[in-house]
Subunit: 340 residues, 2 copies
Amino acid sequence: MNSVQARRYAVAVIGATGMVGEAVLSLLAERDFPAGKIHALASARSFGEDVDYGGRSLPVGDLAAFDFAGVDLAIFAVPPAVAAEGIPRAVAAGSVAIDLSGQFADEADVPLVVPEANPEALADCGRRGVVASPGIVSALIPVLKPLHAAAGIVRLRLGLCQPVSAAGRGAVEKLARQTAALLSAQPVELAPDEIQAAFNVVPATLAEAAGDGPPPASRLAQDIRRVLGDAQIAIDASVMRVPVFFGYSCQVWVETREPIEPVTVSKLLGQAPGVALLSSSIRPTAVGHASGRDEVFVGTIRRDQAQACGLYLWVVADNLRKGSALNGVQIAEILIKDYI
Amino acid sequence: MNSVQARRYAVAVIGATGMVGEAVLSLLAERDFPAGKIHALASARSFGEDVDYGGRSLPVGDLAAFDFAGVDLAIFAVPPAVAAEGIPRAVAAGSVAIDLSGQFADEADVPLVVPEANPEALADCGRRGVVASPGIVSALIPVLKPLHAAAGIVRLRLGLCQPVSAAGRGAVEKLARQTAALLSAQPVELAPDEIQAAFNVVPATLAEAAGDGPPPASRLAQDIRRVLGDAQIAIDASVMRVPVFFGYSCQVWVETREPIEPVTVSKLLGQAPGVALLSSSIRPTAVGHASGRDEVFVGTIRRDQAQACGLYLWVVADNLRKGSALNGVQIAEILIKDYI
C-alpha cells in the first residue's frame, strides 16, 4: 500500500563539513532519502559554515550545543573521539546513531553492517541504538561475500593502497602542496618524523591514518570476520599510503576451502550487488573508475600462482562512497524500511 | 701481490644516454672500476650526445656502426630487442656481454646472477659469453637469499610498487607533465587506452613496463627461482605502477619450511651483504631511503597474520641501482676479478 503521506525522517549529519560528511549529504539527496529536517552539524572549528544538500545550502550547527531530541537518525562522520562523545548523547535522546568512525565497531552488542552481506544484523540496532559501518571493509565485502558463500574463504591477504583523502581534507591539501613544491623544485616542508607523501609510497597503519583506533591488521581482519560471520578466516593486511587523492586500490589474494575457477568467480561477481565487474582487458584504477562512483570495481581475476585454491583479484572503490559514506546511507535506508 | 701496472679493461656501455646507462657510468666511476677505454654507445636516436663519466664528458657513439673488437666487457642497458641484436655482435668480437634487458635471462646456458646469492654461476660465463642480470629481482634477492638459506622459502607473494623511471625517461617526463597539468586544472592528454599515471595506481604487468618479454609473474618467479637455485618455490607477483619517480617499494609475504621468528630474521638481515636493516620505528620509502642508494632497505619485519611459518617484510630499493645498473656493475667486478 502506498501511503499518500509517506513518513519523513529527521536526520542529523555530524561532521558535515568534512569530506565524508559532504558525501553523506550528497548521497542522501541523490538517493532521495525521505528526509524531513536535515541537521548539518560540526564541532566548534567549522560550525557556522554552510554546506550543500542537493543544491540547497544548509547552515552548519554546533554539535556541542545540539539537542538530538526528535532526530530519528544521526550519522556520525567524525573522528572516533568525537563519535565517542556525541553518539551516547544522540542515543540518549532517542536517535539511532550510525557510526562511520570505527569507534563502536568492536563492541559486540553494536551491529557492524555491510548491507550486501549482513543486513539482518540490523535487527540488533535497538540493543544499543548504534549501528557501526566499517570503512574500506565496506568496499571489499561485496566482492568477498559471494566468494565466501560459494567456496569458503579460509585465508586472505590484502595489499591496500590508501588515497590521501582517507585521512581527510588536510591530507588532500598537503599532497597538492607538496607536489606543487616539488614540481617547482622547491623544498617540501615536513614536520619531524613526517614522511613525504608526494611521489612516494608510505607503508601506513590504518590506525595512523585514522588518527586513533586499534592496529591495522586487527582492525581490518576483525571487521571482515564479523561482517562475513566467520571467525576462522585468517587475514593479513598491508596498508600503503599512495599519492592518490581519491579511491582505494586493493590487491586481494584469497584462498578458498573448495576450489573455484576464475571464470566461476567472474560469473558470481557479475551478479553480485554493488559490484561492477569489468572485462579482463580493462584495468580499473582509482582515477579512472572508482572516484565518484558507488560500485566496487573488479578487474583482474586470476589464479594465485603460488597456491592451489588461490585467487588474485584487483579491486578499486571510492573511499568516500562505498568505503565510507555510501555504506552508512545504505544502512540508513534499511533502518527506515524495516526497523525504525 | 700488487701488480704495479694493474690491468685495465676496455668497457662498452650500450644505452649510455638512458637512465640505466647513465647509472652504469656513474657506478663505474664511483666504484673505481679499472676501466681503460670506456665506449659510450647508443642507438641512432641519441648518438652524438655527450654523457658524464666521473666528471668527464664522453661522446656517445653509434651502436650500429661500432666495432666491438678489443672490448673486454659490454654492458647492455637497452630494450630487449636492441640487446637481441647487439649482444651477439659483441660476443662474436670476443667481448663478455652483461645483459640488463632481460632478453637473455631465460636461456639455460646464460648465467643469471645476483652476486649476493649465486656469484659462482659466473663460472659459466664462457659458455655463451653472456651474463644476464635480473631487474627488480636483483633488489629482492639480498633479502630472500639469507631467509631461504636459514628456513627454506616455500611460497612467496609480492606486491610490487614500480616507479615510472623503470619504464624510462619518457615515463618520468610524462608523470611530471601530467601532474603539472592536473595541479593547474588542465586536462591530461592520454593516448587511446592509456591510463592516467599521475595521482593514480595502475595495475601493470612487468611485460608492459619493459615493452617486451614474458608475462610478469613468470618473469619474476622464474628469475627468483633460478637465482636462488630452487625450482620448487611457489611465487605470485602483483605489480602496480605508482606515481613515484624513483625507487621500488615491495610488500613481501614469505612462507618458510621451518618456522623462523621475526627477531631471527632481523639478525640475519642485519648481517646480510647489500641489505640495510632499519629499526622498526623507521619506515623506509622510495623517496626517503631508496633513491640514489645502493643498499636494499628493509623496514617492517613481522609475522604474516594469515599463516604460521609466514613473514611479512617491506623492502625498498633504487630501481636504477641495485634494481638494475648496480647489479650489472657488481657482476662486472667479479668477472674481472675471477674470470676474464
